[in-house]
């Protein structure tokens, strides 16, 4: 059997052959050719050496970082819990809104409309406080970017601080957005939390005032950060 150049398969075919990415019939014909053609076999062998080598490199163990692992897993768990809470909260929101409107209507009818809603008083005598450490936009490719509020809540009081609702506002959105609910800070405890809301794909951090408001059992705690 002669092995003239015209009968050979192209090198790119052998590359695809190696990857098993050819139709069965063509594959079978090539396998047959291989038995009689040392030069094609040499090409395949060379490609194969490179491929097996890369596969072997991929098997080499990565350096282990136990502390990093612990931290990543903790962050992951927090992020997932937060997003689940947010989702559940949004589900409840509709129901709650309807109830609030209904209750408001009933109350207005009952008492007359002389009472305008007033902001609940700040926690004047409480030693609880909230600090907005920073605001930033993070991008994770697999879901819309989010605007994140990095917050420290400290409860210097002698009783637990129950946070009923967290609301963030920013110069981009006119509306305040509820982001999480049901959070408890024990006396003397300091809690670090990231609250976030999804934003549009091309959103940038705009200058202006970013606010976080915690509605607690005693009133509200507010912190602000001005981005220049």
């Amino acid at each position: 059997m002669s092995t003239q150049a015209s009968e050979h398969y192209a090198p790119q075919d052998w590359s695809a052959y190696l990857d098993g990415e050819l139709p069965a019939a063509r594959r079978a014909a090539m396998r047959e050719h291989l038995r009689q053609c040392p030069s094609c076999a040499a090409i395949l062998r060379s490609f194969e050496a490179v491929q097996r080598g890369a596969e072997q490199l991929a098997q080499e163990p990565a350096p282990t970082r136990p502390q990093l692992r612990t931290r990543l897993v903790a962050v992951g768990a927090a992020v997932i819990t937060q997003s689940r809470t947010r989702r559940r909260w949004l589900l409840c929101l509709g129901t709650v809104l309807v109830l609030v409107i209904l209750a408001g209507l009933v109350a207005a009818l009952w008492h007359g409309i002389e009472q305008r809603s007033t902001p609940s008083p700040a926690v004047a005598d409480s030693k609880a406080r909230v600090t907005l450490e920073r605001v930033l936009i993070t991008r994770y490719f697999v879901e819309p970017p989010s605007l994140e509020y990095d917050v420290t809540i400290h409860n210097g009081d002698s009783r637990p601080l129950e946070i009923i609702r967290v609301i963030v506002s920013d110069p981009m959105g006119e509306k305040e957005r509820p982001v999480a609910s049901a959070l408890r800070v024990e006396p003397g405890q300091t809690l670090q939390r990231v609250f976030s809301r999804p934003v549009g794909e091309n959103t940038q951090l705009r200058p202006g005032s970013y606010r976080i408001l915690l509605e607690t059992s005693d009133g509200r705690l507010v912190a602000e950060k001005v981005v220049p």
Binding site: E21, L57, V142
Partner: protein, 180 residues
């Protein structure tokens, strides 16, 4: 690469730290390998971290339309490309063009001690010298489960391009290995 079992995946979606740890252990090696090849040792750990945070964030929405392993590698690919883009912006350096191979092919001599330590070391060095997209294609193809279709999806390109990139990458690798 092993796949995560359904029960562990379900626990991951609920944010169970132990299950997330299993996911991390399962894919740390392939993700690190890809990161190491694409951005180098100094930044590989950063890419790894970013990838896992992104994976943890999105695992709630993972619908199982693809294998988890290929999905994780697709996320890692995007994080790698982001890092490279950022680096290029900072250094204003041009990526060597992915030109078609016109020279005659180089083959490895049969006497080559294949797959020994020395060969693997030289192969790793050669891979680091490939153009970005060829390097990415070869690195992704290092995993058995990454078919042309899967690689095309991760790289956001056509299947034919994957075929061509892998061929050109292999030709270039052979040349680099021989020229040693």
């Amino acid at each position: 690469m092993t796949e995560l079992d359904v029960e562990t995946l379900r626990r991951c979606r609920r944010g169970d730290p132990a299950a997330l740890g299993v996911l991390y252990d399962c894919y740390r090696r392939p993700v690190y390998y890809l990161a190491r090849r694409m951005v180098g040792e100094a930044e590989a750990e950063d890419v790894c971290q970013e990838t896992f945070i992104a994976v943890f964030r999105a695992v709630v929405k993972f619908e199982g339309k693809s294998k988890l392993s290929t999905w994780v590698l697709a996320v890692a690919t995007r994080v790698c490309l982001m890092h490279l883009r950022k680096r290029r912006r900072q250094e204003a350096s041009a990526e060597p063009a992915d030109t078609a191979e016109t020279e005659p092919m180089t083959l490895l001599s049969p006497s080559h001690e294949l797959l020994n330590k020395e060969f693997l070391k030289r192969l790793a060095d050669a891979m680091d010298r490939l153009p970005e997209n060829q390097r990415l294609a070869v690195s992704l193809r290092s995993f058995e489960e990454m078919s042309y279709e899967e690689i095309a999806r991760a790289m956001n390109c056509r299947l034919e391009q994957v075929r061509a990139m892998l061929f050109r990458a292999r030709c270039r690798l052979l040349k680099l290995l021989e020229g040693h």
